[in-house]
Symmetry: C2
Subunit: 223 residues, 2 copies
């Protein structure tokens, strides 16, 4: 059975895709060039797609800098050293990003005859992002089923979120069991000119905390 | 108050925008270049935006030909002379198009501090398109409110569909009351090389039927 997986190049979407592959889905990966500051993650998405043996990897251009409103898609500074437990929504939130990405995934899935979409959202570490929460995913699933030909003709679209209730350390442990090479991934929101992670943004710090708690070294930092 | 209006260049979105303007919204128009066969409608969208005195007109590129699956975005033939009352979904359906477009509109709206989105969907003439039906719009509104910062922080996004239960003739009459110049619009799915409407696709025929029933000439055909 075919599934469309949103593949960013980060470790979450890599792990989510690997879990779906283990469930015997044939994977079609979708990566969006949205004008993200960390466009380096696209290279990582390609490497991850190769490692996973993806059936097809579609890259689409959609420049969300035209909209802006996020430190990932505008000149706003990416926060460093922020309190990760703060309940505010950080400036790295990209307005409606997961809604946009899931919409594209559903459109492509329909053309492929697929009704399964996989997304590596995580409500525990990213509770600040509204579009990573289970109630959003459930509401979007309903949209997919009401707003498509296949949906109204009786197919049932499902949005799979295998990581939604896992912490970063659990995700990393699961990936290690699956033999994933996290050295292929990229997490940093605001990499240095040489491509190395900054070490101070939320994404770097959540990653470091995850590897530390999982009791494993981050292969990216060993290179 | 600001509203984002999805403006295609057709007569429905022009009328929907004009109704929102009459309701004293300051309009921000969003037009998507999605690789549609009838890219000519983009010129119409620009003309309509000028006529409406839109505050800002944002054009975004998102090439849905990469996904395909529609006669508007692939080499499939656009149907001509189809039974307009048939209950099947025509090949001009573009997978998840309104979900994608509404997602982009919500993202932009959030950046603008707007929570009102206007879309010219019409469930009567376009009942074949699942993403023009009221239950889809209601479900999407819920997604907008659950998947955005403003939504979870208490703002209330609304998707306005002023035409949803109107027939084409009613829409045209309403536009005439508002003094709209439908000669600026473009409806044909598959225009001739000189830009003239084909006269035989669903969109041309619904338009012709609408003007006929409204008892008015179509200014586009008088040019």
């Amino acid at each position: 059975m075919r599934a469309v997986v949103l593949l960013s190049g980060g470790l979450d979407s890599y792990t989510a895709a690997a879990i779906a592959k283990r469930q015997r889905f044939t994977l079609f990966a979708l990566t969006i060039h949205y004008g993200q500051r960390h466009a380096r993650e696209i290279d990582a998405a390609r490497a991850v797609a190769r490692a996973l043996g993806i059936e097809r990897h579609l890259e689409m251009d959609l420049d969300l800098r035209a909209i802006g409103g996020s430190s990932l898609t505008s000149d706003l500074d990416v926060p460093r050293g922020r309190d990760l437990d703060a309940e505010t929504i950080p400036s790295t939130y990209v307005p409606a990003r997961n809604t946009i990405f899931l919409s594209l995934a559903v459109g492509w899935a329909e053309v492929l005859g697929a009704h399964d979409i996989v997304i590596g959202v995580n409500a525990l570490d990213y509770s600040g992002y509204p579009d990573c929460r289970p109630e959003f995913i459930a509401a979007f699933e309903r949209v997919a089923n009401l707003g498509t030909r296949d949906g109204v003709e009786g197919a049932r679209f499902r949005i799979h979120t295998p990581l939604i209730s896992l912490g970063k350390a659990d995700i990393i442990r699961r990936g290690a069991e699956l033999g994933l090479d996290y050295g292929l991934t990229h997490s940093c929101y605001d990499p240095q000119a040489n491509g190395r992670p900054c070490g101070a943004c939320d994404s770097c710090r959540l990653r470091a905390k995850g590897f530390r708690e999982a009791g494993m070294p981050d292969p990216l930092l060993l290179r």
